[in-house]
């Protein structure tokens, strides 16, 4: 069955091709159903491959399926080959599962859009590319998927391309990702020059056996970190992700929360032996990038008012946790958090989509409130997602975040504190969101004449004008949209069971299932924390984590629901520390001027030299031509002068006569 792993990308590819050829004829909603079916078919194959691998002994859980020779030149032999192993199949399982529900949600969400079938065309192409990314047997096949998802992301962010901001956001995402891809490409060149192959098997084995020098391993790891920072929206390349919210909300849920943005974490996990073989500062750097990004993005999320922007910064922050895990050698915990995050963040984004849908394209949380009465299912499922991300037990996010913090404490205490602070902030900003959207008083009654309503000023309660000009009532979304919400809420609630710790009397047979499953892949890189203080005092860590979540929730409750404390939303946070602003300014001003200077240099100096030569030749020729008057007497006179001069030279200088 594992030999059929190529069917996992084949189904969405077939869906893509069908919609490409017949999309317009299929139309709304058939194209959407077809795309959904293709993704769920992929999930079925992934499940079958999973059970096949599961039935084998641990050391045999690996199958390479080579389709054909892709780029064969000399010693460089790159096959289009897939690697079915515990990591790639786990990735395929959650990618196709969550993508399936998001496709289904989109059938309802995109209903009535003029480019309905094109949306599903891109979505299926994305799932195809994403499965290629995770299934790749070598860096180049992964890179095929890597840039493929980047391209789909570009197409989908700019989906409503007549909107200037959407077009700009799409371009920004692609270009920023390309900066990261520069790192990935160099890592590939270096890998080839070091081991003569791009295959993960060869590269990892070189790292494990010590054939790969620590310096080379470090360089490869750092270059891939650059790539990961681009794809997974980490500092300093995160800034495309908040803008990516310009895309339709199902895109934000699928690509910019659950799947594509975790590609960087996946890639670093895939090459964990290389990181292990690097100098010590390499994993430390990865951990700090992750930790600082987590904290940085969480502070920004505190002061956002756009329902999707909060979730976008939250995504950046949560992937920061995963990077932190990778840097701490907690690969299993990182992947665990990736899986639980995919579930609850997809849920939150789709919930946000449902709210936006029900609120007639309103995204500003200051114009929401009290929606739980009008959208009970959306509210209930969103609350599940909130509890999961805030880290409240027994929801899924609690288990995975706790595992990361455990390894971080064993590895690096300052980063543990960063992680703890981020956890408080996460609980705080998510509670703030829940209250602003679903609780409190309704601030949307003025929406019917929203265009005329004055802009809501920063930090002040919005002006209320009571429903003077017409009826407006938020509505619950149709079943095609809330069924996926319920399914994902189930995942967010129970996702933790894939990797339960041996605490609270959980039987050892049921604990650490994911760790067992991933063991062959991360065997070499996974940190061993047994015997450390953190490992021996797990209950204390759990208590701290739960306390953090509750403090964050309680604080936000006091600020936004009880209004006991004045909200603190400094403009530094609201404007994302002015980092994006600074980069954009730099690109637009000195950057652009520099480029213009080069173009001007080309036009004036380089080309000027050419035209200058032409002009000079012409001018010289013009002067010389004046000698050619055509008058014989003038030529005769000149000859005469010449003869005299020559004679004089012979006589006077040479003394011939």
């Amino acid at each position: 069955m594992a030999d059929l792993v190529w069917l996992i990308p084949a189904f969405p590819l077939a869906g893509f091709l069908t919609i490409l050829l017949f999309g317009r004829r299929l139309g709304d909603p058939k194209a959407g159903y077809l795309a959904t079916a293709a993704v769920f078919a992929s999930f079925a194959v992934a499940a079958a491959v999973y059970f096949d691998l599961l039935s084998r002994p641990e050391e045999d859980r690996q199958t390479v399926v080579t389709l054909f020779s892709w780029v064969p030149v000399g010693t460089l032999q790159v096959d289009l080959a897939f690697l079915a192993d515990p990591l790639s199949i786990l990735m395929c399982l959650f990618i196709t599962f969550i993508a399936g529900w998001i496709h289904m949600f989109a059938v309802g969400y995109m209903h009535g859009d003029a480019k309905y079938s094109k949306f599903f065309l891109y979505m299926n192409l994305f799932v195809f590319a994403m499965t290629i990314l995770v299934l790749g047997e070598n860096l180049l096949v992964t890179f095929l998927g890597w840039e493929g998802v980047g391209t789909c992301s570009y197409l989908l962010i700019a989906f409503w391309h007549t909107r200037e901001s959407a077009a700009t956001a799409g371009k920004k995402a692609f270009v920023t990702n390309r900066v990261g891809d520069w790192g990935v490409m160099l890592a590939m060149f270096l890998a080839f020059s070091a081991v003569g192959s791009l295959s993960y098997t060869v590269l990892n084995e070189g790292a494990e056996t010590g054939t790969l020098a620590a310096s080379t391993a470090s360089a490869i790891a750092i270059l891939l970190l650059i790539g990961a920072a681009g794809k997974s929206a980490q500092l300093p390349l995160y800034l495309w992700l908040p803008d990516a919210m310009e895309g339709p909300t199902p895109v934000s849920a699928l690509i910019h929360a659950a799947t594509m943005v975790t590609g960087g974490v996946f890639l670093l996990t895939r090459i964990n032996p290389v990181i292990q073989a690097s100098y010590d500062w390499v994993p430390t750097t990865i951990a700090w990038v992750g930790g600082l990004t987590a904290l940085f993005a969480a502070t920004i999320a505190l002061a956002q008012n756009d329902i999707k922007k909060v979730l976008a910064y939250s995504t950046v922050s949560q992937i920061g946790y995963m990077m932190l895990a990778v840097g701490s050698g907690a690969y299993v915990a990182g992947i665990f958090h990736m899986v639980t995050h995919a579930g609850f963040k997809a849920l939150l984004f789709l919930g946000a989509g449902s709210v936006i849908h029900g609120m007639h394209e309103e995204q500003d949380m200051r114009r929401m409130g009290a929606l739980r009465k009008f959208m009970p299912i959306t509210a209930a499922t969103f609350i599940v997602g909130w509890l999961a991300i805030a880290g409240v037990p027994p929801f899924s996010g609690f288990w995975s975040k706790d595992e990361i913090l455990l390894y971080t404490l064993a590895d690096n205490t300052p980063l543990y504190i960063v992680g703890i602070i981020t956890a408080v902030l996460t609980a705080f900003y998510m509670t703030r969101q829940i209250i602003m959207v679903f609780f409190g008083e309704a601030r949307w009654t003025s929406l019917a004449n929203a265009e005329e309503a004055p802009e809501v000023a920063e930090g002040e309660p919005p002006v209320e004008t009571h429903n003077a000009h017409g009826e407006f009532k938020p509505h619950e979304s149709p079943p095609i949209m809330w069924i996926p919400l319920v399914a994902l809420a189930g995942v967010a609630m129970l996702g933790g069971i894939v990797n339960m710790p041996k605490l609270f009397g959980i039987p050892s047979g049921a604990a650490y299932k994911l760790e067992e499953w991933l063991h062959p892949v991360v065997e070499f890189g996974e940190a061993d924390i047994s015997g450390s203080w953190a490992d021996n005092n797990k209950y204390i860590l759990v208590a701290i984590a739960v306390a953090c979540a509750l403090i964050g929730i309680a604080l936000a409750w006091l600020v936004y629901e009880r209004r006991r404390i004045k909200p603190w939303e400094p403009s530094l946070f609201a404007n994302a520390w002015y980092y994006d602003f600074a980069v954009t300014w730099f690109m637009g001003n000195p950057g652009r001027e520099g480029f213009q200077a080069v173009a001007d240099f080309d036009a004036t100096i380089v080309d000027g030299a050419v035209t200058g030569t032409g002009v000079a030749v012409k001018a010289t020729a013009g002067e010389v031509r004046k000698g050619q008057t055509g008058y014989v007497r003038q030529y005769a006179a000149l000859i005469g002068v010449g003869v005299v001069l020559l004679l004089g030279w012979f006589v006077v200088i040479r003394g011939i006569l």
Partner: protein
């Protein structure tokens, strides 16, 4: 062994590839003006026949053979040792095929605005000249074809070009002639010096390459005489400024051919008459070329970003793309040089198609200014989608053709020219910047009044595009058939460089301690 020996009377296919377009050109020129429908028909027949033969040539090409195939050799001017010597190897094969298929498509794609008859005759003459340049194995014959190419191109730009056509055509002609002057001197000197080693006078490339033994300093002088001519043609920074003018002012078919195959005369020349003829000198001067190539990549991309004329933007992108090809040539590895060879074809396909789009946009809107265009994707989604695919190929997205070449060039160059490659790879980011920004300004946004009536892709245009789009996808996913035919010739070329210098190509590999295969290894060695 060679295809010429398979039958009792072998069909001289390479000569036919040159003469059919010439005959076509003559017929077109002689057709009476009273029958205006014939010239196009004749031109199409001649160019389609050439295309069909070039494809047949590719099909019957011996894959694992490194040397010249389908060789045809006839003495021409005996006293000077000049012969009509043609041959094709893995390096020239796909350029010949590209020349074969690009011309009929260019003829079909856009009709000239006036005087169709001479326009078509010049185009066919151009095809013959380009074909001859790629096929000649005699220095004299090569030079003749290399120069002949200028004449039809000059008339095409000056006669059917845009507002600054005469300036552009003159600049193109004089600039390239300036380079050729060096080559002519170098060529005669090469033959004169070589004849002392060989014992008789000959212009035969293969004989000179095999038997002549240039002193290092002599070889370097001669190499530079050739290289300057090719550097102008490529063009290599800072000799590139004729190109934006010529590309922009040429009629669409001229731009397609110029970008598609004519620039490749330069890079092909560097391989065939630079590296092959003067391996020592080209290896000795590699750092100069690598540096200029990398400057071209970054500089061309930056200049492209700031262009306001869409056609000029595509022209500057050629400077950047050709920089990659030069980088690969002077990195002297199997991967980089094979990558350069395949990238010559890829660039011809992608940039050729981009020029078609720009031409069609001009036909519809009578402008090439980016600021005049807006929101075209809304009114012409299929046109936009096709443009998008070609653009992504030019950006170098994996799965499409442009990536394969770029990746091979950079991977191979990294082995011998590490830091050049690190900088060159930045060009990949810049390519996304200038093309995506241009796409956004032209296709995204809400179309204004002028752009609202932009017509959708026509059926004929779609048919012309299909081969381009097909090649873009096919060469990106399955380049193996091309690479298999290119690599033997490249390996032979690198072998020559290794023979004449102390260079040894790095072939990275790793000795893995694989316990499962340990017992098997000694047996294999014993068998070998």
């Amino acid at each position: 062994m060679l295809a010429t020996e398979t039958g009792p009377i072998a069909f001289p296919i390479l000569s036919a590839l040159i003469f059919i377009p010439i005959i076509g050109a003559v017929i077109v020129a002689l057709l009476p003006k009273s029958r205006p429908e014939y010239p196009k028909l004749v031109a199409l027949m001649a160019s389609v026949a050439t295309a069909a033969m070039s494809i047949w040539l590719m099909a019957s090409f011996e894959t694992s053979e490194a040397g010249f195939q389908f060789v045809s050799k006839h003495t021409w001017i005996e006293a000077w040792g000049i012969s009509w010597h043609l041959g094709v190897d893995g390096i020239s094969l796909f350029l010949v095929v590209l020349t074969g298929i690009l011309f009929p498509l260019a003829i079909l794609a856009v009709d000239p605005h006036h005087d169709e008859k001479p326009y078509l005759a010049w185009l066919l003459m151009l095809q013959a000249g380009v074909m001859g340049s790629f096929l000649s194995l005699d220095l004299f014959v090569f030079f003749v074809f290399f120069e002949i190419v200028l004449v039809p191109m000059y008339f095409l730009i000056a006669g059917w070009g845009y507002e600054k056509r005469v300036y552009a055509a003159t600049k193109f002609f004089l600039y390239t002639m300036f380079g050729s002057a060096f080559m002519l001197v170098g060529l005669i000197a090469t033959v004169a010096i070589a004849s002392r080693d060989i014992g008789y006078t000959t212009f035969d490339l293969v004989v000179i390459a095999e038997q002549a033994n240039f002193a290092a300093s002599t070889g370097r002088w001669l190499f530079f005489a050739f290289a300057i001519a090719f550097a102008v043609k490529v063009p290599i920074f800072p000799l590139h400024t004729w190109l934006p003018d010529a590309h922009t002012q040429a009629p669409t078919a001229g731009s397609v051919v110029l970008a598609g195959v004519m620039l490749k005369l330069g890079t092909y020349g560097l391989l065939r008459f630079g590296v092959y003829l003067f391996p020592e000198a080209s290896y000795w001067s590699r750092n100069l070329w690598l540096t200029l190539a990398v400057i071209g990549i970054i500089y061309g991309a930056i200049a492209a970003t700031m262009q306001t004329d869409l056609k000029r933007l595509v022209a500057y992108s050629s400077v950047a793309h050709l920089g990659f090809i030069v980088l690969g040539i002077f990195a002297f590895t199997t991967q980089s040089m094979s990558g350069s060879t395949i990238q010559m074809v890829n660039h011809g396909v992608s940039t050729g198609a981009l020029f078609l789009f720009v031409g069609w946009i001009y036909e519809r809107r009578k402008t090439r200014q980016i600021s005049d265009l807006r929101g075209l994707q809304k009114v012409a989604p299929i046109f936009a989608a096709a443009f998008m695919l070609v653009m992504l190929s030019s950006v170098g997205v994996p799965g499409l053709n442009g990536f394969v070449g770029e990746f091979l060039i950079l991977t191979g160059s990294f082995l011998t020219a590490r830091w050049w490659t690190v900088v060159a790879a930045l060009g990949v980011i810049l390519a996304a910047v200038y093309l995506l920004w241009a796409y956004q300004r032209v296709f995204h946004g809400e179309p204004d009044e002028d752009n609202k009536k932009f017509p959708e892709l026509k059926i004929k245009e779609g048919l012309v595009l299909l081969p381009f789009l097909g090649l873009i996808v096919f060469m990106g996913i399955y380049p193996k058939p091309v690479l298999d035919r290119v690599q033997p010739s490249i390996d032979a070329l690198i072998g020559r460089v290794e023979d004449h210098t102390d260079y040894v190509q790095p072939k990275p590999t790793i000795e893995l301690v694989d316990h499962s295969q340990e017992p098997a290894n000694p047996e294999e060695e014993g068998d070998g």
